[in-house]
Amino acid sequence: MNPDRRQFLGWGAAAVAGAALAPGLRLIELAQARSPEEAASALKRWGLLIDITKCADCDDCVTACSDENGWKGHGRPETDPQWIRKVSLRDKRTGYAQALPMMCQHCEHPPCVDVCPTGASFRRDDGIVLVDKHACIGCRYCVMACPYGARSFIHEEITGQKADVPRGKGVVESCTLCVHRVDRGETPACVEACNRDGGKAMVFGDLNDPAAEIHRRIRSEPSSQVRADLALNTGVRYQGL
């Protein structure tokens, strides 16, 4: 085979490979909102990264969650719903105080799902842990199983629900990672409020997406899981803890 012929075949092979790869196929899928008819994909793993050193002395995330999802207290802290709360930590010896938002950690191996007798507590393919309230019988096993105290039981009759967030008496609920907003391609309400009015401490994104800020940061910066000893592989990570 003479060199010209070999070179020509090489060019041809390169062109064919390029044409075969180019239309409609990306080696790395771009981050974009799903279309409404597309099911949640196990290729994604939604998560949060919360930098506690930036967490300001406010409760904008809690207020935003309450406004978005329509839950509010009745002045009865023992039984009031609580999707997200600010937890204060203080080192007794040094007096160093920190505060962090605590909510459902969207575990890869969620204890709430393990204990649910009806399959109401489930983990969606994209990592969001939810309660199917149609199947929930209100036994509250998951409330007891969750190491983060993230779940609440609805004790009162509820009226005036948000159209995207159905809520009713007798079932368990918790942070949904604002699944109705995520499905529209938006970020959760707490993250939006924190980045608008608060300390810009929260980042939301796909932990599996190499192009996402959250993926880059958990790769290159130290971060931790609360109760990492339980090996639940939480979707919510903290920095500065």
Binding site: E37, D164, K169, V171, D183
Partner: protein, 127 residues
């Protein structure tokens, strides 16, 4: 002789239904919910009357478990189109959902959790 008797019973029953169907003369008046946007439903009326619950149930599981949020059979889309212009709701005495379910003695749990109100600034999606 049993066959003509059965026919007679069937005829009487049909007559009873017809009488009930014209509203005023039956023991319980047949509901006539107001259709806010006639002819724009996602399926023909006969199919909707018989199968709307199956459509909602199917869509419900797809939405909750898989995040599929197509508007066609979504409860939110039903409510946005069928809520009364007067009250903004599908419930109440002449509400689209509640009037028929009260007549049929079917208790629906949807609105113990879901909002029965039309959402502001949302255009209902046509089929």
């Amino acid at each position: 002789m049993r066959f003509p008797a059965a026919v007679a019973v069937a005829l009487l029953a049909a007559a009873g239904l017809v009488r009930a169907g014209d509203g005023g003369t039956g023991r319980v008046p047949v509901p006539s919910p107001k259709i806010e946007a006639p002819g724009q439903c996602v399926a023909p009326t006969a199919e909707m009357r018989r199968n709307h619950m199956k459509m909602l149930l199917h869509q419900r599981d797809l939405t909750v478990h898989e995040g599929i949020r197509t508007p066609r059979f979504s409860l939110k889309n039903c409510v946005n189109c069928h809520a009364s212009h007067a009250t903004g709701s599908v419930l109440g005495k002449d509400g689209f959902c509640s009037s028929c379910h009260a007549y049929a003695a079917v208790s629906i749990d949807c609105f113990e959790c879901h909002s029965p109100m039309r959402q502001a600034n949302v255009a209902a999606v046509k089929p």
